[in-house]
């Protein structure tokens, strides 16, 4: 398992071709994406690297069906996401995608368990919320409210919430961005474990090059374009990372 299967078109989960995204703010046009071609495969752990403003979040949001591109095409397995209706995108997110955000975005009035349950209640074949929390090492903090958890713990709840519905894809936008290095490592270990044990395609955004070493594949964005892409011959385990 240390050496992933060679990339194979048959295993492609996401295929993006010629993606562009233009934000219009009055007179000014911001080109957030300028022609992205990208294929993501089953079971991969991919790190999206790039400076702030390079278009990472925009790309991730489009892959996750939270936003629509201005041009180009995205396919998920045999579905075309581009041009899908709001309702189809909702179904897509509901069944296939788990999100983790930089600021956790937990529902403050629900406990850890209930935050996870809020998602599992609308999924088809979810884990038990308790199992998902055990997976992220929070089996003993089930009934704590977000305000009673540290930032790292909140982020782990968010990961549990994202993986509890057994998604095919886990999309994480700077999950360690708001955390110190030691806490961040714990969160990355959880993501690594989920990727390994559940085989979930995991896309992880960071502007921190040190984190890239844990990936199967690293894609570097710059000014809305893919500047560079490489495979790590040796993945470093998350616990060896620091920044």
């Amino acid at each position: 398992m240390m050496n992933p299967m060679p990339p194979d078109q048959a295993n492609a989960v996401f295929v993006a071709r010629g993606l562009t995204k233009v934000y219009r703010m009055g007179e000014v046009e911001v080109h957030a994406l300028r022609g992205i071609d990208l294929t993501l495969y089953q079971g991969e752990l991919v790190v999206l690297l790039g400076p702030s403003g390079s278009g990472k979040s925009t790309l991730l949001n489009i892959l996750g069906g939270l936003d629509a591109p201005s041009g180009g095409e995205v396919r998920y397995l045999d579905h075309t996401l581009t041009g899908a209706s709001e309702s189809e995108l909702t179904d897509f997110r509901r069944e296939h995608v788990g999100f983790v955000f930089q600021f956790y975005n937990l529902i403050p009035s629900l406990t850890a368990r209930e935050n996870v349950a809020a998602v599992t209640e609308i999924s088809r074949s979810p884990m038990r919320p308790e199992d998902a929390l055990a997976l992220v090492g929070l089996g003993n903090r089930l009934d704590h409210f977000p305000a009673q958890l540290s930032g790292g713990e909140q982020q782990r709840v968010a990961i549990a919430r994202a993986v509890a519905k057994n998604p095919a894809v886990l999309l994480c936008d700077e999950p360690t961005g708001a955390l110190d290095s030691a806490t961040g490592v714990v969160v990355l270990e959880v993501l690594e474990k989920v990727n390994r044990e559940l085989g979930t395609l995991t896309v992880l955004i960071t502007h921190n090059a040190g984190i890239a070493d844990m990936a199967d594949r690293v894609i570097r964005l710059s000014d809305g374009q893919i500047a560079e892409e490489h495979r790590n011959a040796h993945k470093r385990p998350a616990h060896e990372l620091s920044w």
Partner: protein
């Protein structure tokens, strides 16, 4: 329980301050509706039951005198079911220790047994002994006003002879629920009473043995009222009949119906204003509250929740608040409703009992309106939040594009420090939201003004009536039309300063298919005491040869204009039918009148200088002597003293107004506080992070309070003048809706009105400000550092 439902309960608890404030807004609107409509329904139901149980007659007729056998012919008429004849006599009453003139009405009872129709509900004591010569039953309002009990004595001057009567019982009659002395404007329980006495005793005293002068009857199942009236009139005409009439024209019933109509208007318009405003405020408050949840909505959406599910979630949240408010409003409204009905029963409707009725339909209406107001606001906000791409919803709102405000751009900025600029820019950045806040607060101000309007309007009305139109100290009625020479005799009474005669002819006024049963008043054209007023409330002379009508009578009842020809069916003497032109309109808020020049009326009636009564000015201090002197004159039927009438009016209505104002103040106050508090609380939620950041930067609590509360203060101050406009508009609506035969409300707003409106807003703002100040002390600075930005 599902996780989201749990979130709901916790959110409700977390927002409890706002939940209560929103519930208060709904409660204010719903309570007004429930109070007014349940009172209206209850009084109507009670009236119907009382009429039924006490056999209130359906057709009535008065005449001069007919021998008893005539009754047999009436009974035999088709369409008549039950019929009863009576003797009816106007009397003057005297009570030890009470010196104002008292007018009374004596009605006969069967010498033994119950009356067939118009039965009495005894409250105390019993019916007179069979064939008793001096026992009477007294109307309860009069008895209560003087504290009279069974066994007490009262003197009556019947047909010029003074007679000592013993009170056997105190009772209520369906015929005299609303008691007004002839020639008076409003009920005066102290100076007008109705008495019932055995038929032979009264007949003997009044010279009506073996005869009658009043008939009441009920109709057979499918009889046509007008047909029966015509037949009765035909039989009674030779006996001086003055025209039979149905319940619609029966005095007490007509006024009762008018009062109930009035109440229905109040019960519809007033709550419509209150509930409408409450629903609007609810909408504004709820949509802002939900807008604050935009981040959570984005998360739910990112995880695949759909609009209907998210919408329903927030609708449930808001329904929680609505149900709380509606339940509280119904309970409070029912409580107030019983209180209001009790006040009505004491002051106006002398029913012996009350069937309090809260129609479930009212509760449904209250619930429906509140739910629509709240749910539409919720769905609007949720839809907006959902429409936002989830990616954007979750991102902190982009820093808003502030800019220098107009005030700064025109160069006034050097007068303002940074905090003041923040306030101004924040208001200008969100002009719509600021406007809605101002509008919401101003509605609360307007409601308060409506709620407190009556007092000023009634003061104005009474002042106009008694200082401009009816300035006499005493209005005196003769037993029958009398020669004008009687006026000289009155003027000669020591203490009488000035005398003005009037001729009053009972008549039905007709125009097209409209009619009104009342009287034509012949007054002196250039009278000093009793005058007709023009549109600017200035006295104008009544022109010769035609009638001048009260505007409401002309416009809304008869639908005539000056120049039209009115048909006047005179109800006395040879009962001529006359054509009289309408010459003008007079402005009058109390009652309805048709005025003519006295000489013109005399000419029309083909009689000489005849009067039926007189208006007197009495020298100060001479009142009692004059009353005593005139009371003793046999030709004087009754007297109404204006000053005491006004006083008693205020005593009666005072209690009513006190209750109503208290309730309206309470409800408008709760709505006002709910709105202001919510505006402040939401502003705090919207800007909490910003304010906490400022605290982190070293601003003091006072400084950030200035930024938050300064904005609230500015909006509150802006809302007060707008509120005055809203209040004036609402009062205008009320005035339009309030036209009735009894009175029309003038559009009058007193300084107190404005002060009340402003006070509710300012007090609510101060209280909310205090609560916000306490909250600012608990602002979580660490949380700000922990999260974004």
């Amino acid at each position: 329980m599902r996780a989201l439902d749990r979130k709901l309960l916790r959110d409700l608890w977390h927002l409890r301050g706002q939940v209560l404030a929103i519930a208060a807004v709904i409660m204010g609107g719903v309570a007004t509706l429930v109070m007014s409509l349940s009172t209206y329904d209850s009084l109507g139901v009670t009236r119907d039951r009382f009429y039924g149980e006490y056999r209130f007659a359906e057709v009535f007729a008065s005449l001069k005198r007919a021998p008893e056998p005539v009754a047999e012919r009436l009974r035999a008429l088709p369409g008549v079911e039950q019929l009863e004849t009576r003797v009816r006599a106007g009397v003057k009453l005297e009570l030890e220790g009470f010196n104002d003139p008292i007018t009374g009405l004596l009605l006969s009872l069967p010498d033994s047994g119950e009356p067939l129709l118009n039965a009495l509900h005894l409250k105390r004591g019993g019916m007179p002994q069979a064939w008793s010569a001096d026992e009477v039953v007294l109307s309860d309002s009069f008895a209560d006003a003087h504290g009279l009990q069974p066994g007490d004595k009262i003197a009556a001057i019947i047909n010029g002879k003074r007679q000592q009567l013993t009170i056997a019982g105190v009772a209520v009659s369906p015929e005299y629920i609303y008691q007004i002395a002839p020639g008076s404007m409003f009920p005066d329980f102290k100076r007008y009473g109705v008495l019932w006495m055995g038929r032979s005793a009264l007949g003997a005293a009044y010279g009506m043995e073996g005869a009658f002068n009043q008939v009441s009857l009920t109709l057979a199942r499918d009889a046509r009222e007008q047909a029966v009236i015509d037949r009765v009139d035909a039989i009674l005409a030779p006996y001086g009949g003055t025209g039979a009439y149905g319940r619609k024209d029966q005095f007490s019933n007509r006024f009762l119906s008018e009062e109930l109509n009035q109440l229905q208007t109040t019960a519809t318009i007033f709550p419509a204003i209150f509930l409408g405003v409450a629903a609007f405020l609810l909408n504004v408050v709820v949509s802002r509250l939900i807008a604050l949840q935009r981040e959570q909505i984005a998360i739910l959406k990112a995880f695949g929740y759909r609009y209907p599910a998210i919408g329903w979630h927030y609708v449930k949240l808001v329904l929680g608040m609505v149900l709380l408010g509606v339940a509280g409003g119904v309970a409070l409204g029912a409580w107030f409703g019983q209180g209001l009905a009790a006040v009505y029963m004491e002051t106006t409707f002398r029913f012996p009992y009350l069937d309090y009725l809260l129609n479930p339909g009212i509760v449904l209406v209250a619930l429906g309106v509140s739910v629509v107001g709240a749910v539409s606001g919720t769905l609007y906000s949720v839809a907006r939040a959902v429409r936002l791409p989830a990616a954007e919803g979750m991102r902190a709102e982009a820093p808003e594009a502030y800019r220098a405000t107009l005030i700064e751009r025109i160069g006034l900025q050097r007068w303002f420090g940074a905090p003041t600029r923040m306030i101004l820019r924040h208001i200008e950045r969100r002009p719509l939201k600021s406007m809605l806040t101002v509008l919401g607060i101003s509605c609360a101000c307007g409601l308060m003004m409506v709620g407190n309007d009556q007092k000023g309007a009634i003061d104005f009305m009474v002042d106009l009536q008694f200082r401009q139109a009816a300035r006499e100290d005493l209005a005196l009625t003769f037993i029958e039309p009398t020669s004008g020479r009687a006026l000289h005799e009155l003027a000669a009474v020591p203490g009488v300063g000035y005398v003005e005669g009037f001729r009053d002819v009972p008549a039905i006024l007709r125009f097209g298919h409209y009619h009104y049963r009342s009287a034509i008043f012949g007054i002196e054209p250039e009278g000093q005491l009793h005058r007709s007023l023009d549109h600017d409330y200035q006295p104008v002379a009544v022109p010769p040869g035609g009638v001048v009508l009260t505007d409401h009578l002309a416009r809304n009842i008869l639908h005539v204009e000056p120049g039209d020809m009115l048909t006047v069916e005179v109800l006395e003497g040879s009962r001529p039918v006359l054509q009289v032109p309408v010459l003008g309109i007079t402005q009058q808020f109390l009652g309805l009148s048709a005025y003519m020049q006295k000489d013109s009326l005399n000419a029309l009636m083909r009689e000489g200088h005849v009067v039926t009564g007189a208006y007197l000015a009495i020298e100060p201090g001479a009142e009692e002597a004059v009353y005593a002197k005139l009371n003793a004159r046999p030709r004087v039927l009754g007297m109404v003293a204006n000053r005491s009438a006004i006083q008693s009016f205020y005593e009666t209505i005072g209690e009513f107004i006190l209750f109503y104002n208290l309730v309206a103040t309470l409800l408008a106050g709760s709505i006002g506080f709910g709105v202001v508090y919510n505006s402040a609380r939401i502003a705090l939620s919207e800007r909490g992070r910003e304010l906490a950041s400022l605290r982190v930067l070293g601003f003091t609590r006072g400084e950030i309070a200035y930024i938050l509360l300064g904005e609230l203060a500015l909006l509150t101050l802006a809302a007060i003048p707008v509120g005055f406009l809203v209040g004036t508009g609402l009062v205008g609506i009320l005035v339009l809706a309030f036209e009735s035969d009894l009175y029309r409300l003038p559009l009058v707003l007193t300084p107190q009105n404005y002060a009340m409106g402003a006070t509710v807003v300012i007090v609510s703002a101060l209280l909310s400000g205090l609560l916000m100040w306490l909250r600012l002390g608990r602002l979580d600075l660490v949380a700000v550092l922990k999260t974004r930005e």
